[in-house]
């Protein structure tokens, strides 16, 4: 029989009329902070930047921020799905670099290959991650950490230990990174389009609901008929695909596949997702928040660049600090909510 002494009491909650009201209000505030916190900070920081840095105010600069934010946005989009299921994908930084090298290499065979090869390989590695995580129940961080290393190995192997830099040879493919439409860079359009699709998938499809359910409670989700394994595999494939695409887009912009490691891309993505209000433990969050998180980090990076003599590594420090504050705040707020 189920024992009642589960250590922690069930969240009984005071159910008197006052109790409910208070729970309600706390919950609304907590929810609001979680959903819109990143946006509020983004707006504030942007306003400060507008006031302080004259160079920030130009349209050009806005374009620069958006273009620079496009690849991280794609990675963070995939990461949002993964984290929503309660997982984590540490391999995306490596996949990003690998995707770039593969795209540049494959561009000699034309536009289609330049896009398909990185997607296939990075999606394949994502599939491998997903299969291992879903079927062996090994911890996601271990599996994807190994994939980080493996993907780096693959990248170095195809670039002769990093000594060969492939140049993008397809003009059509190059346009993906350098061209623009209505004055806005192509990659920004691409990222925006995929973000929109991602939002629809998350909110309006069975897969999206499964992602939330899995992160909320894997056991309950299983009992409620959610295809647990398929959903897990799905999110890691998605994450791999988007990381590969981000690499390809970046290669198109730079005109070559850069073998210098995008060390920390995975960390930036995780930071952006968490700052955007998605719970690292899964089950709650939004792509809108992730967009705000990515843009916030982008704006901060831009501001750091504006201050000429400031070390650009402040970015990481700020990301880490934000991350810690957000995670601690989420935990404390949740506990607060449970007390009532």
């Amino acid at each position: 029989m189920k024992t009642l002494n589960a250590g922690v009491p069930a969240t009984a909650g005071s159910t008197g009329p006052n109790g409910v009201e208070r729970t309600d209000r706390t919950d609304r505030i907590v929810g609001l902070v979680q959903r819109q916190g990143a946006l509020a900070v983004l707006v504030t920081v942007t306003l400060v930047a507008l006031a302080v840095f004259p160079d920030f105010r130009s349209l050009d600069n806005a374009g620069t921020i958006l273009v620079a934010a496009a690849p991280p946005m794609l990675i963070a989009l995939g990461m949002t799905f993964v984290i929503l299921t309660g997982g984590i994908d540490l391999s995306v930084g490596s996949l990003y670099v690998l995707g770039g090298v593969l795209a540049a290499w494959a561009s000699q065979y034309g536009f289609v290959y330049a896009l398909l090869v990185p997607l296939a390989v990075c999606g394949g590695i994502g599939l491998f991650n997903g299969l291992l995580i879903a079927y062996t129940r090994m911890a996601p961080f271990i599996v994807t950490l190994a994939a980080l290393l493996g993907a780096r190995g693959v990248m170095r192997a195809i670039s002769d230990e990093g000594s060969t830099t492939y140049v993008v040879e397809s003009d059509a493919f190059g346009t993906l990174g350098t061209g623009s439409l209505l004055g806005i860079g192509n990659q920004v359009w691409l990222a925006a389009l995929l973000v929109l699709i991602g939002m629809v998938v998350l909110a309006r499809t069975g897969f999206g609901q499964s992602v939330f359910a899995l992160g909320g409670s894997e056991d309950a989700a299983g009992l409620m008929g959610v295809a647990v394994r398929r959903t897990k595999i799905g999110v890691y494939v998605l994450s791999g695909l988007l990381a590969g695409l981000a690499g390809a887009v970046n290669a198109a912009k730079l005109g070559s596949g850069v073998t210098v490691l995008g060390a920390g891309m995975e960390l930036d993505a995780i930071a952006a997702v968490v700052i955007g209000g998605t719970l690292l433990t899964g089950g709650a969050g939004s792509i809108g928040g992730t967009v705000a998180g990515v843009l916030l980090l982008g704006v901060i990076q831009n501001m750091i660049n504006q201050v000429g003599d400031l070390n650009s590594n402040w970015q990481q420090v700020i990301s880490g600090t934000f991350l810690a504050v957000v995670v601690v705040a989420q935990t404390v707020l949740n506990r607060l909510r449970r007390v009532h």
Partner: protein
Amino acid sequence: MALLEVVDVSKTFPGVKALDGVSFTLQPGEVHALVGENGAGKSTLIKVLTGVYQPDRGEIHYQGQPRSFAAPMDAQRAGISTIYQEVNLIPLMSVAQNLFLGREPRNAVGMIDRGRMEREAREILAEYGVTADVRRRLGTLPLGAQQMVALARAVMIDARVVIMDEPTSSLEPREVQTLFSVIRRLHGQGIGIVYVSHRMDELYEICESVTILRDGRLVHTGRLADLERIELVSLMLGREMSEVRRQGFTEFGGDHETPEGAGPVLRVDGLTSRTKLHDVTFDVRPGEVVGLGGLLGAGRSETIKAIGGAYPLDGGTVEVDGVSLKRPTTERAVKAGIAVQPEDRKAEGIVAGLSVRDNIALAVLSKTSRFGIVSDARIDEIVQRYMSRLRIKASGPDQRVGDLSGGNQQKVLLARLLATGPKVLLLDEPTRGIDVGAKAEVQSLIEELAAEGLGVVLVSSDAEELVEGSDRVVVLRDGAVVGHLTGDRVTTEDLMASIAAAAPESPA
């Protein structure tokens, strides 16, 4: 034709026969109570019905056909739904999402139609008395409302059979009434309901028939109205076995001597914790065994844990030898001389991966060390002493505790408690899940310890054990003290009468 029929089902786990030739029949539109104490086999039976376990022997007939369910989803698809004690939904998702997960209404292009989903959710839940905003996160609703959502979901997916496992354990009286009106409606629709609960009042209010399990066997099935409360309780607790047991089954003697004029070694005053404990007050004198009586969920384990500093309290005090434990934590409780043997030995008691020696020495490491370095000589001395005193059968002090038998694991745990030199021993089901020999040994050990002047609090679902082992019994129901049995009244009859007595009014 019976809706669901279980014929002669057995299920054995390593060392335990959880179900032994149990049969059970559910008619359409019937509310059938399934009762029994811990370990009686209720949850195993439920798990067999819902496809979590496969029976070793016996058959399940569903709607007249022999069926076997390979997984919970199979049973669910066939129309057998289960409402668990802890709500098994996704707290972080909205009420409407939870209700429709996996079967969301779609619009013309195949996307989830949120508007329709929320509208339908509102309509459906209104029938269950849930008026909350369906866009709210489920976890923010009171538990009663969450339970209703779970029920609504179960019925929505064309359930023919709904199994409710202690559905009211965390509900308010008002919510219980709403639940009952829903059950009556389901009953009207011909849905069969298996209702598991320990609350007598509820059983008699809502159930027509009853099946009683004990020690994995069927002991009674029939109309509930034909069974008096006291009969029901005695069947559950195995009263008629008392004669057998008297012939040397429990090792307990009788009353214990308490030193004249000695003050209580443990005073518990007004323990209160949300919905689980209400003003629990009692005391224990040195050399005395005080039993905590009551059915499952009455608050016995919570009381024990609260005294040991392992359960959050909203109020009340715990005093050991007249010294009050301020804000009890487990560390302070152990230092003050309180030793707790938790009910779930594996989850909270032993450290299965460590050796017998390490387990016994765990709580006295600082006493057996100098400058933070442990003295093996001193530890070995303690370990030897308790291994021989408790007759722990292991290949040696280095054997992994996880490889020992249940009885020896329990003895290792008791040895750890005793090594701390406690003043009060709190024992939660000390003889559960251990073999007969070890049981007798543990019982005589409790006897000895009391004789040595320890204060003992004993929780046992075995009525005989409780009554024979205790000098006094404090009876709990719904987290409140409802009776004291002392002197000649410490008998199984009085205990059962006290448990079965209808509450004048459900405690608020």
